[in-house]
Structure formats: structure tokens, C-alpha cells
């Protein structure tokens, strides 16, 4: 048993639902007890879907367990088919139904429905959401595209120019975007545009927006673009084995990765990348070089998320913003190898865990100036008083902005620049604050102007245990992940952490002159100087902090 307060990933059948909800013309019959329908609200509330996910649940109860749950399942399948008339039917069990071993696949097959039935075996006590999504997508692709696989030994026939009425251009599939994906909607738009500018036609985007008929013609493409390996890697591997379709390895997040991606795609398609690479209009590289960005140099950043987004964000942070990566981790165990390789590049220990408390401890120990993480790290960072930007699922209602906001491609790189930089204090403003520190307007109690209304009275910038940089959370950052929390006004209030921070507190005194010296340090870094000095003193078993201790610590922590 694993004690869990919060989990990054849902159970694997929710991954299957993400595939079903992304597609057209499929229906998923899920053998599941009453209550498992809660998962519908992830789609209708977090993603604001206009339709219910195409899922029928058997919602069995205790009284059914004494009777015939298998019969209940068959009835549900029949009724769902009659009502929704899908082109393909997915069937499976949630965690509880897995235990009663009714064999949904066999039962559904026995009904002899006139459409393909895809049985899904998603072991709920071993696997999680992304694995479930990947397995589901793979099973669907295999079932639906399988009939067009050329016989073993035969070579895939080269496509005749003009064979497809519309175009003789090279064609690719775009694989991986799903419902409840982190900005998948906008990434697809961005990357499809990029491919078109390269003269590459998109055969099928899947699973998002694809029908079973679309999956059946995946084999008609020349190669595959894998946007999210967590979802599409397994299916792409099978397509490569079955149709000889190569797939992309670069995930186009960040300017550098997008350029690499364009080159990789151009090579796979046999086209010239120059038309796109010569006309790059991305602002992010220039913004990073503008003098105002000097202050970003060497900012300590901790990165955590799904493997794809975390690895990409680390590269952007290091190579495109000049940050120093002081931590890199993921909850995607399936991609541990890739993450370890990336961590080695930055000389940090890889963190592979789905325990958010362990992530919190590691963040606290790394003393970052910026955290790039999931919504959970946003909360962790808030507690630690460190700015944070969200770069990865698990998704939150805020991760479906009304505006266009891709993570991928050249526009995605612009979005990332803003996303990573805005939580930090503006550079020029930081210089001015330093120049005018303790001026009547720039005193310790005056929050920086960019925080707007958050500069509320009482929001003291320097409190003994608080951070140098004021809380950067934007006004709309209410903790509304959970739909019910929106409704839970009134009686619910945050529970303060029992233990305010990682520092335990043996008796430690500041000498008067050291305390005075501390106050000469600009207020917005004073909290950090105090913490670092105290930590330094504690590590060395000192009980009195003198002016010398202060400067010893400063020298120790300076980089």
C-alpha cells in the first residue's frame, strides 16, 4: 500500500477516456461501480467540454455483485451501441471491475456487433493515466489500421505521385494530442501550420479529432510526427514496424528544439527546411538577448513535470534564457531513461517520483529562484515563497486559456519566454529598487508595482520566514483545479502547514551588529540572505551569527 495525499496521474482508465473523448465516432463502455462517473467532470469542468465524454458506465452496486454483473455489462454494451452507433467500441474495466474478472473484452466480442470492438486491459493496480492513454491509443491503432498492414516480407509500396487526388506532397501523421492534454489543442494548430509551410501535408491528426476511419488510413502517410511520446510512442513504434513509417524524435518545445524539429521533419519528408528556418519570426531569442534580460543570467531553476515537458523546459531554461538548472525531475517513470540523460547534461541528480512531498523536499533543498512545474509545484513554490510557472499536466482549468497559447513551435517559444520570465521581478525594476532601496516609496513594505493589487497592506515583503521575491501568483490563480472547490466557498479554508519549512530550529542568535548589517542588504534579497546565513550557521553548529558569519555565508553561497 502506498500512502497518497495527492497524485500526479489518474488511474489508467482515465487515460483511455482521454483518448475516447478526443476522438469522434468511438464509444467506451466501462465496467465500473457507481461513483466512477466522477471522471466525467474532468472533461466537462476542467476542459469545459461541450459534450459528455463518450463513455457508458455499468455503475454496478453491491446488490448486482450477488447477481450477474456480466449480464449487466452486456446490456450496457448493447444499449450503448444502439444509442450511440459508434464506428468502433472500446470496452474495459476500472479498478473495482478488474477485481471481479468479468472479462469485458470477451463478453463484448460475443455480442457480435457490426463494428470493431477494442478490448482494453489496463491493470489499475500497476499502471497509471499516461500508460493507459498510450496503451489505448496503441490498441485502437492496431485494431483499426491493422487490416491495411502489408503482408510480412512485402515491401511497402512507394506512393505514386498524384495517387492522392489532392496533393503529391509528402504526408505525415501527427500523433499524441488528447483531451485533457497540456495545451494540446494549440500545439496541434501551431505544428500543423509549420508542416504546411514546409510543404508537408498532414494525413491524420490522432487521437484528437480523429475517427476510427481516420485511424484506418494512418498507413497512408510517409512518416509520423510524435508530439507527445507519453501518449504516442508505443503506437508510433508499431506503425514503424508495420508500415515502415519513421517517426520524429524531437519534441518541438523551445526555439532550439523547434529548429531541430524542422530539420528532422524536412529530412524525413525530403524537403528543404530553409523556407521555414530563414523566416523565423520568433521574438523569444531576441528578447533573451535584450539587455533587460541580463538579470536572468544564472537564475537557479528547478524543473518538474511529465518527462516531455520537463526535459524540454530544462533545455529552454538553460539554452534560451541563460538560467541554471538546479533540479530536474518527472513523475513519468516510463521515461526515466530520457530524464536521467537530460539531468546528466545539467549535472543534477534526476528526480523520478510520484510523491509530491518528495518533490517538495527536493525543491526546498535546491533553493531555486524559479520553479517550473505542475499545478502542485505551484502550490509548493507558493509555500516556499519561490516564483513558479506551470509547464505540464496534470491539468487545471487555467491550463485551458481562452486565448491561443501553444507550447510548441516558434509561437510556443514566445509563450514560454513570457511564462518563465513573468513570475520573476522585472529586470529594470529590480535595478531601480536596488538603487532606491529604503527610499520613502521603495521601502520594505511597498510591494513592487508589477504585483498590482497584490501589494496589499500586510503583505510584508520581508518577514523572517518569507521569501525575497514577493508572491508572483497572478490574480486569477485561484486554486480552482477541482471543480468542487469552486463551489466549496465558505467553510473551507487553507490549513497551514504544520511545519513551516524544511529548517528545523535549534537555538540560533543574531549578534546585534550582524542584524544591523543584514538590514543594509536590499530588502528583496534580505529574507534569502537571512535564511542562507542561518542555514550556513546551523550546518556548522554555530549558535551565534556574527558579521563574519554573514559574509562567510555570502561567500559560500555566491556563485
Amino acid at each position: 500500500m502506498q500512502l497518497t495525499v495527492w497524485t500526479y496521474e489518474a488511474p489508467p482508465h482515465v487515460g483511455a477516456m482521454r483518448i475516447a473523448a478526443a476522438m469522434e465516432g468511438v464509444h467506451y463502455v466501462l465496467h465500473a461501480p457507481q461513483g466512477d462517473t466522477y471522471a466525467d467532470l474532468l472533461f466537462t469542468m476542467i476542459e469545459r467540454a461541450r459534450k459528455r465524454p463518450p463513455v457508458t458506465y455499468t455503475t454496478f452496486q453491491a446488490r448486482d455483485l450477488g447477481g450477474d454483473t456480466a449480464e449487466l455489462f452486456k446490456t450496457s454494451v448493447k444499449e450503448a451501441y444502439e444509442r450511440f452507433r459508434p464506428q468502433a467500441l472500446m470496452v474495459g474495466a476500472s479498478c473495482t471491475a478488474e477485481l471481479i474478472q468479468d472479462d469485458p473484452g470477451g463478453l463484448a466480442q460475443a455480442l457480435g456487433l457490426p463494428v470493431p470492438v477494442v478490448p482494453l486491459e489496463l491493470p489499475a493496480y500497476q499502471r497509471k493515466e499516461n500508460w493507459g492513454a498510450a496503451e489505448t491509443f496503441y490498441r485502437l491503432v492496431r485494431t483499426l489500421a491493422g487490416p491495411s498492414v502489408p503482408p510480412p516480407g512485402s515491401k511497402r509500396t512507394a506512393r505514386e505521385p498524384g495517387e492522392h487526388a489532392s496533393t503529391s506532397a509528402p504526408r505525415c501523421n501527427v500523433l499524441g494530442p488528447t483531451s485533457l492534454g497540456f495545451r494540446h489543442r494549440d500545439d496541434v494548430h501551431e505544428i500543423t501550420g509549420l508542416l504546411h509551410r514546409l510543404g508537408i501535408a498532414v494525413n491524420v491528426v490522432a487521437p484528437l479529432g480523429a475517427s476510427p476511419a481516420d485511424l484506418a488510413r494512418l498507413g497512408e502517410a510517409d512518416f509520423n510526427v510524435v508530439l507527445y511520446p507519453e501518449i504516442a510512442y508505443q503506437a508510433a513504434q508499431w506503425l514503424e514496424r508495420s508500415f515502415g513509417q519513421k517517426s520524429t524524435k524531437v519534441v518541438p518545445i523551445g526555439t532550439g528544439a523547434t529548429i531541430d524539429f524542422v530539420r528532422e521533419v524536412a529530412a524525413l519528408a525530403g524537403v528543404d527546411p530553409a523556407p521555414v528556418l530563414d523566416g523565423v519570426t520568433s521574438r523569444a531569442p531576441w528578447y533573451a538577448r535584450s539587455v533587460d534580460s541580463t538579470y536572468l543570467t544564472g537564475k537557479r531553476v528547478f524543473v518538474f513535470g511529465d518527462a516531455t515537458h520537463a526535459i524540454a523546459a530544462a533545455r529552454v531554461a538553460a539554452e534560451e534564457l541563460g538560467f541554471e538548472v538546479v533540479g530536474l525531475g518527472t513523475y513519468s517513470r516510463e521515461f526515466g531513461r530520457e530524464l536521467r540523460a537530460a539531468a546528466a547534461k545539467y549535472g543534477v541528480a534526476p528526480l523520478i517520483t510520484d510523491d509530491y512531498l518528495e518533490v517538495e523536499e527536493t525543491i526546498a533543498a535546491a533553493h531555486p529562484e524559479l520553479v517550473l512545474g505542475t499545478q502542485m509545484e505551484r502550490h509548493t513554490a507558493k509555500r516556499l515563497g519561490v516564483p513558479c510557472a506551470v509547464i505540464s499536466a496534470p491539468v487545471h482549468v487555467q491550463d485551458f486559456p481562452a486565448r491561443y497559447s501553444p507550447q510548441m513551435g516558434f509561437e510556443g517559444a514566445n509563450v514560454l519566454f513570457d511564462t518563465f520570465v513573468h513570475p520573476l521581478m522585472m529586470g529594470l525594476e529590480e535595478h531601480l529598487l536596488q538603487m532606491f532601496r529604503e527610499d520613502f516609496e521603495f521601502h520594505a513594505d511597498a510591494a513592487p508595482s508589477h504585483l498590482g493589487s497584490h501589494a496589499a497592506p500586510g503583505a510584508r515583503v520581508e518577514a523572517p520566514a518569507s521569501a525575497p521575491a514577493p508572491e508572483p501568483v497572478p490574480a486569477n490563480a485561484a486554486p480552482a483545479t477541482a471543480a468542487l472547490a469552486i463551489a466549496a466557498a465558505g467553510p473551507v479554508s487553507p490549513v497551514p502547514s504544520a511545519d513551516g519549512g524544511p529548517v528545523s530550529a535549534p537555538p540560533l542568535r543574531w549578534a546585534a551588529d550582524a542584524e544591523k548589517e543584514l538590514h543594509k542588504i536590499p530588502f528583496f534579497v534580505r529574507g534569502k540572505a537571512r535564511r542562507n546565513t542561518e542555514r550556513f550557521a546551523q550546518d556548522r553548529g554555530l549558535s551565534l551569527i556574527t558579521v563574519e558569519t554573514l559574509y562567510d555565508a555570502k561567500a559560500y553561497f555566491s556563485r
Partner: protein, 429 residues
């Protein structure tokens, strides 16, 4: 009988004997684990440990927005493959997890082991586990168990199961104690305080609420206890309290002016409060509440209303909407219709109201689409899709999380129904 309390209607009026459409299909409802979301705020020194699957953990965090808590007072012990395969002894694993939890949270005085669908199906005996662990951790921490599994409980039945688990621990009331009033069902503190003042003015001083705010403050119960249910979903709790001697006071539920008047009236009658005193205390409050309601009634009068089953509050809410707001009831669906506890409510419901129990969600959606009600009360999974079809909705969950009981909240309750309609009228694009 008090002048302004509703006279108990004869059995043949209202919906007392009305036919009920009983459906067994897909139920779009939460399981009882969801009750933890409000119970852990109510009993403030209790911790709720669900013994279940990743699905249970994910339900709780999706339902509760766990991230808003630094250290929430609930968690899930996730059953893993090795527990099922017999590689690990599930009871030993549970002991390990509980020990770690209690070490980490020394502030906890009461730990609930909460059963789930998987723990029920593998027949993990949490009742025995709780007894065993209680011996280890007594007297510092008490450990009890209840089941919030979806195979046994629907949404608010989780509270029923939790309170039922507490009943055996309630102290016995002295045989010669003066009569006391026990109000049962989690209420917002502000509402409890309002009721306390009201009962005190009536002259009823010995009033206790169950569940209490602290687990070591369980109210006593015995033959001198008068039991007043504040929530309509507490069938088992009421049964166990009656077994311990408490006498249930039949009453409508304290939603709206009429319901609250009848509910207070039932207590007043049981405690022998005379009509003049009752009127002097209740009438001004009822009048104030009616005045506040009038503004909302203007917006809702004549509008049609459809309830999908959710919290078991549907029948009292429908009675309030029909009789005090002038709304037309298209269908009142409820997961479970407890005719005994709802007798006073059913009698007040307009005759001919379509009642349904259980659910077949697709068929019910067909009926809602055909009727195109002005307002549909439904769960979160259905609300946005119905809005996208042009139907105004009210999340049923909000009716449970917002203080709605009593005179002072009657207008707030009405406003919850009016808000979706007001919002629609404001939006011009």
C-alpha cells in the same frame, strides 16, 4: 399545534402516495467517499484514510481541490498489485501506513478507516483492522471505520455511514436527564449558531449537534433524547440513534421558510412550547425571511425546474421551489426516496409531481431535453453539456456546500436557483 406551523396534511394530498418512476441504469452520481470533502471540515480533529485505489485518491483530489490544503486531513492508502497478489499482507501494510500517518500527524485524535469499492470487493475487514489499531494507539487516537464505497453508498450516504460509525461511541444519557434535543446532520457553524439562539429563545436549552466539531465532544443519547434530522439522507444514523432510545420528531426539513417553521415547530411541540411563545420567536424571523425571498421569487415564479438525482436533498428542495418560489416541477429525481423520513415533505409536494428514484441517465437526459426546463439541477458531469444545449443549470453540489438551512439562508437558497437565470439574462454575446 402552532398557528403558523403547517398543519400536518392528510395522507391523501400532496405526493404522499404518488407513483414513483424507478430506474436502474447508469447512475451519474458520486460515491460516498465524496462526503469526506465536507466531513473533514466539520470534525476538525479527525483524519479520513481511504483504503482504496488510485481512482479513489483521484476522485477525492478532483472533488476537493486538495491542492488548496498544505496537509489535508484525508489521504488514500492505495492498494497495489502486491497487496492483491498476496505478496504483502494487506493488514500488515495497513498497520504500517497508519503508524506512519499517526507519527506524521500528532494532532489527529480520531482516525476513520474508510472502505472503498476495491476494499469491499477483496473483503478487507476494516472494522476489525480499526479495532486492532485502536488497541495499539489508544488512548491517544481512536480508530473507527465506515464504507464510502460506490457499491454501497451514493454521495451523501457517505455522511450517513460516517455518523453511523460514531453512534456506538456516543455516551449514554442519564436516565433521569431532562429531555434534550439532538440535531443530526452536518450543518455550517453559522447555521448551528442561529438554530441554537432560536431554540434558546423558545426555551429549549439542551440542544446538541451531531456530528460535533471535535471528536471528543460526542453528544449523549438515550430515551430522553428527541432526534431532529437536519438532512434527509441519514437513514441508518437515525435508525441506530432510535435503537439507543432517541425519539425521532417527524418534520419537514429546515429548507425555506415553511420547512424551517415546520422543523422548529416539531421541536417546539415535543418540548411543550406554547403557541404564543412560538409565534413570538418564530414569526418575526419567518417574516424577515419571506421578505428576503420575495425578490428572488419575482425571478423564478412560473419557471420550470428539473432535478437530476444527486444528494437526496431533491424532495425538500423541490417542495421549497414549488411552494415558496412558485416554480413548476417537471421531474424530481432522487437517488433514494426514504418515504419515512420524507413523509412530511411528500405531503407538501404539489400533487401530480413526477417523482423518480434511481437513474438511467441517458433516458433521463432524453426527458430533460424533451421538457426543456428553465432550470436543471444536476451534477458537474452533466452541467456544461446541458448548458451547451441551451439549458440553464445549477450544480447540485453547491446546494450541499453552501449554508442553505434555516430562515436566514432561505433567500440565499433561492438566489442559488435564480443566479443561473440572472447570469443568462446579463450575457449579450
Amino acid at each position: 399545534m402552532n398557528a403558523i406551523a403547517p398543519a400536518r396534511p392528510a395522507a391523501e394530498i400532496g405526493c404522499t402516495d404518488a407513483p414513483v418512476l424507478y430506474e436502474r441504469g447508469q447512475r451519474e452520481v458520486f460515491c460516498g467517499l465524496t462526503g469526506i470533502v465536507w466531513l473533514h471540515r466539520k470534525i476538525q480533529d479527525a483524519f479520513f484514510l481511504v483504503v482504496g485505489s488510485r481512482t479513489c485518491a483521484h476522485l477525492l483530489q478532483s472533488a476537493a481541490g486538495v491542492m488548496i490544503f498544505a496537509e489535508p486531513r484525508f489521504a488514500t492508502a492505495i492498494i497495489e498489485e502486491r497487496d492483491l497478489a498476496g505478496l504483502a499482507d494487506a493488514n500488515a501494510e495497513l498497520d504500517r501506513v497508519v503508524t506512519r500517518l499517526i507519527e506524521r500527524r500528532p494532532d489527529i485524535r480520531l482516525l476513520f478507516l474508510v472502505g472503498s469499492c476495491p476494499s469491499e470487493v477483496i473483503k478487507l475487514d476494516l472494522h476489525r483492522a480499526a479495532q486492532r489499531l485502536s488497541e495499539t494507539f489508544a488512548p491517544k487516537v481512536r480508530i473507527l471505520s465506515w464504507s464510502g464505497s460506490g457499491i454501497e453508498t451514493t454521495f451523501t450516504q457517505g455522511e450517513d455511514a460516517c455518523l453511523s460509525a460514531l453512534v456506538p461511541d456516543m455516551p449514554a444519557e442519564a436516565a433521569d436527564a431532562p429531555p434534550s434535543l439532538l440535531v443530526v446532520g452536518a450543518l455550517a457553524e453559522v447555521v448551528e449558531d442561529q438554530f441554537l439562539r432560536l431554540f434558546a429563545e423558545l426555551g429549549i436549552d439542551r440542544v446538541r449537534f451531531f456530528p460535533p466539531r471535535r471528536s471528543d465532544d460526542l453528544p449523549p443519547v438515550g430515551p430522553r433524547t428527541k432526534l431532529l434530522l437536519a438532512q434527509p439522507f441519514l437513514a441508518e444514523t437515525a435508525r441506530l440513534l432510535e435503537k439507543r432510545g432517541a425519539a425521532r420528531l417527524p418534520a419537514p426539513f429546515p429548507l425555506g421558510v415553511e420547512g424551517t417553521t415546520g422543523w422548529i415547530g416539531a421541536a417546539a411541540e415535543a418540548f411543550g412550547i406554547d403557541d404564543a411563545r412560538f409565534d413570538a420567536v418564530v414569526a418575526p424571523r419567518a417574516e424577515r425571511a419571506r421578505a428576503a425571498l420575495a425578490r428572488q421569487r419575482e425571478k423564478l415564479d412560473g419557471k420550470s425546474l428539473f432535478f437530476f438525482p444527486d444528494s437526496q436533498l431533491e424532495v425538500p428542495l423541490a417542495r421549497f421551489a414549488a411552494r415558496e418560489l412558485g416554480m413548476r416541477l417537471v421531474e424530481v429525481g432522487t437517488p433514494y426516496l426514504h418515504r419515512g423520513h420524507l413523509a412530511a415533505e411528500l405531503a407538501l409536494l404539489p400533487a401530480g409531481t413526477a417523482l423518480s428514484e434511481g437513474q438511467d441517465v441517458e433516458k433521463q437526459l432524453d426527458r430533460a431535453r424533451a421538457a426543456r426546463p428553465d432550470l436543471t439541477v444536476c451534477g458537474l458531469g452533466l452541467a456544461n453539456p446541458l448548458e451547451a444545449e441551451g439549458l440553464a443549470t445549477k450544480w447540485s453540489i453547491e446546494l450541499l456546500f453552501t449554508p442553505v438551512h434555516g430562515f436566514e439562508q432561505a433567500a440565499d437558497l433561492a438566489e442559488l436557483f435564480a443566479r443561473p437565470l440572472v447570469r443568462r439574462s446579463r450575457l449579450k454575446v
